[in-house]
C-alpha cells in the first residue's frame, strides 16, 4: 500500500500535514505526538522580523468552530532559525515553512533566507491571513499582487512553493491559475474565513481585533467546494484543509481533488488527530482495496442524471 505523495519535488511519506498556526513550531507537541509519523510538519507563519501579535482576546469558540485573530505573533527569520530550526532539522519528516511579508520584496527576502538555510522541505506562501493590517490576505485577494508574490519567490528559490489561497474571493479559479502560472508548485486550500462574534451581555466583540478567521468543522463543506473548484482549474497538487477532524473528512478532501491534507483546528483540542487521520486513511484503503492513495485524489463520482436542474 502506498501512502506517499509528492508536492512539487517534496515527497511526503503520507498525505497528512498540519495547518500552519495550529502546531506551533513542532516541538510543542513532540511530547504528545510522534512527529516522525506525519507527512510533514508545517510551522506557524514567519516574516522577516519578530511580530508581537494582536491584543487579547485572540480566539473565541463558536458553534463547531472557532475564531482567531492571533496576528501572526512570531520570532522572525533569525529568531526562528536560532530557536526552532535545530529541532525541526533533526526530524525525519520534512518541514514546510509558512512565510509572509508586508511587501513583495519581503516575501522574496524571507524565501531567499530559507532557501539559503538548506534542508527546508517546502515554503508555504501565506497570502491569506485575514488578521493583519498589512500583508496576508491583501496579496491573496488581488490576482496581480498574488502573481507578483509567487513570481518574486520563484525567482529566489528552487524549494517547492505552496501558495496558501484565500477563500475570501468571488471565485478561487483565477487565483489558483495565477499562482500556478507564476510558478507555484502547489496550492494550499484554504485559509480561515473572515468572521466575527459578539458577546451579547457585554455587547463587545469576542475578539480584540473585532474580526477574525473562522476555522474548524463549521467551514469544512465550504473548503471542500473550494478544493474541488481549484483542482479542476490547475494541474499542480492541492493540500486541502478546513475543519478536518477525522479520516472521513480527509478522504472527502482527497476525493474533491486534494493530493494531501492538513489538520488544523482539531490539533487544538485533539493533538492526536493527524495520526488518527493517517491510520484511518490506511484503513479505508485496505477495506476498499486501494493500492495507492493517489487513486483517491479527484475520485469523486458525479452521477449522470437526466434533467438535473
Amino acid at each position: 500500500m502506498n501512502l506517499s505523495v509528492k508536492i512539487g519535488k517534496l515527497t511526503m511519506q503520507n498525505p497528512v500535514t498540519v495547518a500552519s498556526g495550529t502546531f506551533g513550531y513542532g516541538a510543542e507537541y513532540a511530547r504528545l505526538v510522534d512527529l516522525n509519523l506525519l507527512g510533514a510538519v508545517t510551522v506557524k507563519g514567519i516574516r522577516l522580523n519578530p511580530v508581537p501579535g494582536n491584543p487579547t482576546p485572540r480566539t473565541a469558540e463558536t458553534t463547531s468552530g472557532m475564531l482567531n485573530a492571533i496576528g501572526l505573533q512570531g520570532p522572525g527569520v533569525v529568531g526562528f532559525i536560532k530557536k526552532y530550526w535545530p529541532f525541526l532539522k533533526s526530524l525525519k519528516v520534512p518541514t514546510i515553512i509558512n512565510i509572509w511579508g508586508t511587501t513583495v520584496e519581503e516575501y522574496a527576502e524571507v524565501a531567499r533566507r530559507f532557501d539559503a538555510l538548506g534542508g527546508v522541505g517546502a515554503l508555504e506562501l501565506n497570502v491569506s491571513c485575514p488578521n493583519i493590517k498589512e500583508g496576508g490576505a491583501q496579496f491573496g485577494t488581488d490576482v496581480k499582487l498574488l502573481a507578483q508574490v509567487v513570481a518574486a519567490c520563484r525567482k529566489v528559490t528552487t524549494l517547492p512553493l505552496i501558495t496558501k489561497m484565500s477563500p475570501n474571493v468571488p471565485s478561487i479559479v483565477p487565483f489558483a491559475k495565477a499562482a500556478e502560472d507564476a510558478g507555484s508548485d502547489a496550492l494550499a486550500v484554504t485559509n480561515s474565513f473572515p468572521a466575527m462574534a459578539i458577546d451579547i451581555h457585554t455587547r463587545k466583540p469576542k475578539l480584540a481585533n473585532i474580526t477574525g478567521g473562522l476555522t474548524g468543522p463549521a467551514i469544512k463543506p465550504i473548503a471542500v467546494k473550494l478544493v474541488w473548484e481549484a483542482a479542476k482549474a490547475v494541474k499542480i497538487p492541492i493540500i486541502g484543509m478546513g475543519g478536518i477532524q477525522n479520516a472521513d473528512d480527509a478522504i472527502e478532501f482527497l476525493m474533491a481533488g486534494a493530493t494531501a491534507v492538513a489538520v488544523g483546528t482539531a490539533n487544538f483540542y485533539e493533538p492526536q488527530t493527524p495520526l488518527q487521520v493517517i491510520a484511518g486513511i490506511r484503513d479505508f484503503m485496505e477495506k476498499k482495496k486501494i493500492a495507492d492513495v493517489k487513486e483517491i485524489t479527484g475520485s469523486m463520482v458525479i452521477p449522470k442524471t437526466e434533467g438535473r436542474c
Binding site: R31, R58, T59, Q73
Partner: protein
C-alpha cells in the same frame, strides 16, 4: 504532560454552583506540581470543541481533583457527568508556583473565589506554614476553608457582602497584616485579574516578591495557538508570553500591567 482518557470517580456539588470533580489518572497524578492545570475535553459536548482549563486542586493516590464553578455550557455539561464516565485530559500543564523551602520567606496566599483551588497543593507542599487570605462575594464563594485550616494554615476570610468573615475585599486584611510587618514574607495569588493586579501593586508597595497565577482565556493549553498571552517584560521592552506554558504563574514584577487590556 500526558494526554489520557480518564474516568470520573466523583463529581459532587460543593456549595452553590461549585463542584468537586475527582479523576482516576494514575500516570498523571504523580507528575503534578502546585499551580499546574489540566486541560479537559468534555466529551459529551459536541458542537463546542475546545478543551477547558482547570487548576488542579488536590492529588490523592492515583487520583487528582478539580474544584470548578459552573460558568457556561462546558461546565454545565461537565456538572451533569457522573462517576464512571470518561473525560480526555492533557495534564499536568504549565509552570506552577515555587514551593517555599524551610527557612525561606513566610508564604502569604491570596485567593479569590475558586482561585483557592489552585493554591491547595502549594499550601500542602510548603514546609513553611503561613496565612491564606481568601475572599469572595458571598459565603458560598468561600471554598475549602476547613481544608486549609486542617493543613495548619491560618485562614482569614473576607466576603463583599459580609456574610462570612470580614466584610470587604481580600486585599484589606492582607494590607493590614503587612503593615504589622512585611519583612520575610512572600505573596502567592490566584483569582480574578483585578485582584491579581491589586496584589501585584501591594507586593510592589511593600517591596515583596509575589507569584501570580494568571487567568487568561485559553485555547490549546499546550503552547501552540498563542491565545492566552500576557505582556511580560524583556530586556528592552515587553513581549507576549503564554499563560499555558511560561505561566500560569508569573513573577508579578515581570507583568506589564499597562499593556494588559
Amino acid at each position: 504532560m500526558l494526554e489520557q482518557t480518564v474516568t470520573i470517580v466523583a463529581n459532587d456539588r460543593d456549595t452553590d454552583s461549585y463542584f468537586r470533580l475527582v479523576l482516576r489518572a494514575p500516570q498523571i497524578a504523580p507528575l503534578i506540581q502546585p499551580g499546574q492545570f489540566a486541560h479537559v475535553r468534555i466529551l459529551p459536548l459536541k458542537d463546542a470543541l475546545l478543551r477547558r482549563p482547570f487548576s488542579i486542586f488536590q492529588v490523592a493516590g492515583d487520583t487528582f481533583s478539580i474544584l470548578y464553578k459552573t460558568v457556561g455550557k462546558g461546565t454545565d455539561v461537565l456538572s451533569r457527568m457522573r462517576a464512571g464516565e470518561e473525560l480526555s485530559v492533557i495534564a499536568p500543564l504549565g509552570h506552577g508556583f515555587t514551593v517555599p523551602k524551610a527557612g525561606e520567606e513566610i508564604p502569604l496566599l491570596v485567593a479569590g473565589g475558586y482561585g483557592m483551588a489552585a493554591m491547595f497543593l502549594l499550601a500542602q507542599c510548603s514546609p513553611q506554614k503561613g496565612i491564606v487570605f481568601v475572599g469572595g462575594r458571598r459565603r458560598v464563594d468561600i471554598l475549602c476553608e476547613r481544608e486549609f485550616a486542617a493543613l495548619g494554615w491560618e485562614v482569614r476570610v473576607t466576603t463583599e457582602d459580609g456574610s462570612h468573615g470580614e466584610k470587604g475585599l481580600v486585599t484589606h486584611p492582607l494590607i493590614a497584616e503587612l503593615k504589622r510587618g512585611a519583612t520575610g514574607k512572600k505573596l502567592f495569588a490566584c483569582g480574578p485579574t483585578p485582584m491579581l493586579k491589586a496584589v501585584g501593586k501591594i507586593a510592589e508597595d511593600f517591596n515583596l516578591p509575589a507569584e501570580l497565577s494568571m487567568d487568561e482565556h485559553m485555547c490549546c493549553g499546550t503552547g501552540v495557538c498563542l491565545t492566552c498571552v500576557i505582556p511580560v517584560k524583556t530586556g528592552d521592552g515587553w513581549e507576549y508570553q503564554r499563560t499555558c506554558t511560561e505561566g500560569p504563574v508569573f513573577d508579578s514584577r515581570e507583568i506589564v500591567w499597562e499593556a494588559t487590556k
